[in-house]
């Protein structure tokens, strides 16, 4: 199978892509409740990259006449209504229970979920430190939460090859995206880009998914997003929060950190805050 064949196999899986296992039980509990509050609905969706991407896909494809794409879950719930969002979340969660038997992924689902959430939380904190406007802070969180979304279909659809990719990383001590490129002909940023393109998600997400491992090459208008996600990803890997499958992550691109105006001391101070946020989410989801 060549890279193109693998990518088309991934493309056909994308619309069946399930929620992440740690969130499923809570999604079912909250969405099966007739009196679900928008606060709980927002919270549970904001903790799951797949659900988040799916709701954004819906709202941005339906409302394509909008001048600016919608990135905020709060706005999506107000525009689409609680029931529509609830039904969508339920059907995505149910897909997971249907797919579970054939789930042969090598990535630890809880660890991967922790990693995604921690990068989302860190990206948000970095945006605040960088002095971004309050109204865009949530957009930074979403960009961080979704940065590795390309790994989900790769892990499920190309499960056997992905085991070899991860073993190769460990043996050669190379970053995951480098091993993916060598083994498969593309990396999770390419696969993520495929999802973002197919679902027509906003450009902040497109750019961070595509460039989170090579921020220096980025030339567009969303450099603050790309720098924040790159820095957050490095920080979360280095702090050992969750598991991204990347045991030998590439070094931090210092120009990205400097571009954000965040020094090393400030960065290391984030560890407790991020850990605390992830634990709060775990308590909410009852992750054991």
């Amino acid at each position: 199978m060549d890279a193109q064949e693998r990518l088309s196999k991934l493309a056909s899986y994308i619309d069946r892509m399930p929620s992440l296992p740690p969130t499923v039980t809570k999604v079912l509990e909250i969405c099966n409740d007739r009196a679900t509050s928008p606060v709980d609905l927002n919270r549970v969706i904001s903790l799951d990259p797949v659900l988040m991407a799916r709701v954004l896909k819906l709202i941005n494809s339906a409302y394509y006449g909008l001048p600016n794409k919608v990135v905020s879950m709060v706005r999506a719930i107000i525009m689409l209504g609680i029931n529509t969002v609830k039904n969508l979340a339920l059907s995505t969660a149910v897909m997971d229970t249907l797919n579970r038997k054939t789930d042969l992924g090598v990535l630890n689902p809880v660890g991967f979920w922790r990693h995604s959430l921690a990068v989302g939380v860190t990206t948000r904190l970095l945006a605040k430190m960088h002095g971004e406007e309050l109204s865009t802070i949530d957009e930074y969180f979403v960009a961080g939460l979704l940065h590795d979304i390309g790994k989900i279909p790769m892990d499920r659809v190309l499960a056997k090859e992905y085991v070899e990719v991860i073993e190769y990383c460990r043996e050669r001590e190379v970053p995951l995206h480098v091993a993916e490129r060598e083994f498969l002909g593309f990396d999770h940023a390419d696969c993520g880009r495929l999802i973002v393109d197919t679902w027509r998600l906003p450009t902040t997400i497109l750019d961070t998914v595509t460039y989170h491992h090579r921020p220096a090459e980025y030339r567009g208008a969303n450099s603050a997003f790309v720098y924040a996600v790159h820095t957050a990803n490095y920080f979360v890997n280095a702090s050992g929060i969750g598991e991204s499958g990347d045991n030998y992550p590439a070094a931090l691109d210092e120009s990205a950190r400097e571009g954000l105006g965040v020094d090393q001391t400030k960065l290391s101070e984030l560890a407790n805050l991020v850990d605390g946020e992830v634990q709060k989410a775990e308590n909410f989801l009852k992750v054991v």
């Binding site: 006449g65 706005r75 525009m79």
Partner: protein
């Protein structure tokens, strides 16, 4: 000229009976004719469409082609349940273009409408229809019909994707705003409420405000605004918030704020009796008189003619 005739004005479910004789009991269906050729547009296929179908068949000669563009606001039952009883679809020589929103599941319009023509619900299968049916799935966009009629669409606030339509012909505009409810912030804004978060509260306020102003700009300066007015304000606030319908007060406020010249209150609650309207209409007219906006209750059989502005 645009001429409208109301074949169904009721919401939710048909309500025949002594108490609805004057207003009408059929569900949503409006006939809109425009231009010298009297091109036919139909808005919604509630039970009112049956009578329109009978009339079309009566007036057409055997060989005449019946052409119509049917715009469905959404696919809730009261807006599509008359479709299987729209007799022209069983006639060879009918050409029907169906326009409507797709659902969030991305189910095709053809599938949603076709579901009704399933032997469990109805004796005729969709494959047996003799007419030529063409389906056009709409999102927020602009559609051009024959003779320069332009139709703009926008999403309203309803529990399923639901489109408002703005028909513009020779400078005259007719806007439909049903089924819809004003957007509101669904998140706690009071710091003492559980789940309060200042960032979320502010984002929710902004989102609701911007969405409402998006709709007002869509309705702007309509020669005729046909607006959802299912509830009284008391009914709405009591236990019907989030059901996707407006109160009479919401409708009038939107009409005045958007500069409508004339408005019709539409999609009446099944519980609303003919006697109730006198008092409601007097109150609405009193409010609307401040802006010189004409207000009427939509009734079955009502005909409205709007001259060309250009």
């Amino acid at each position: 000229m645009i001429r409208l005739r109301f074949w169904g004005v009721r919401g939710s479910i048909p309500t025949p009976g002594a108490h609805t004789v004057n207003t009408g009991g059929n569900t949503s269906c409006i006939e809109l004719r425009y231009g010298e050729a009297e091109h036919l547009v139909i808005i919604d296929a509630g039970t009112g469409i049956r009578g329109l179908g009978e009339l079309l068949l009566r007036d057409a000669s055997e060989t005449e082609v019946i052409r119509a563009s049917l715009f469905l606001t959404h696919t809730h039952w009261d807006h599509i349940m008359g479709f299987p009883f729209f007799a022209p679809i069983y006639r060879k020589g009918t050409e029907l273009d169906l326009y409507g929103p797709v659902t969030w599941e991305d189910e095709s319009l053809k599938k949603v409408i076709g579901h009704q023509l399933n032997y469990q619900y109805f004796p005729v299968h969709s494959g047996e229809l003799a007419a030529t049916l063409r389906y056009h799935e709409l999102r927020e966009e602009r559609v051009e019909l024959a003779d320069g009629m332009i139709v703009h669409t926008t999403y309203l606030n309803h529990p399923v994707l639901c489109l408002g339509y703005r028909f513009e012909y020779r400078g005259t505009s007719v806007v439909t705003a049903f089924d819809t409810e004003p957007f509101r912030n669904l998140f706690p804004t009071d710091p003492s409420q559980s789940g309060f978060d200042p960032e979320i509260a502010a984002e929710g306020e902004r989102a609701a405000r911007e969405e409402n102003s998006r709709l007002l700009s869509f309705y702007r300066n309509a020669d005729l605004l046909i607006h959802d007015a299912q509830y009284t304000r008391e009914e709405h606030r009591r236990d019907r918030m989030g059901w996707g319908h407006s109160s009479f007060d919401d409708a009038i406020e939107n009409g005045m704020a958007s500069g409508a010249r004339r408005m019709l209150l539409f999609h009446h609650d099944p519980e609303r009796r003919d006697d109730d309207f006198e008092h409601i209409l007097a109150r609405c007219r009193n409010i609307a008189s401040k802006r010189n906006m004409r207000v009427d209750i939509a009734t079955e059989g009502l005909v409205i003619e709007l001259p060309d502005a250009q």
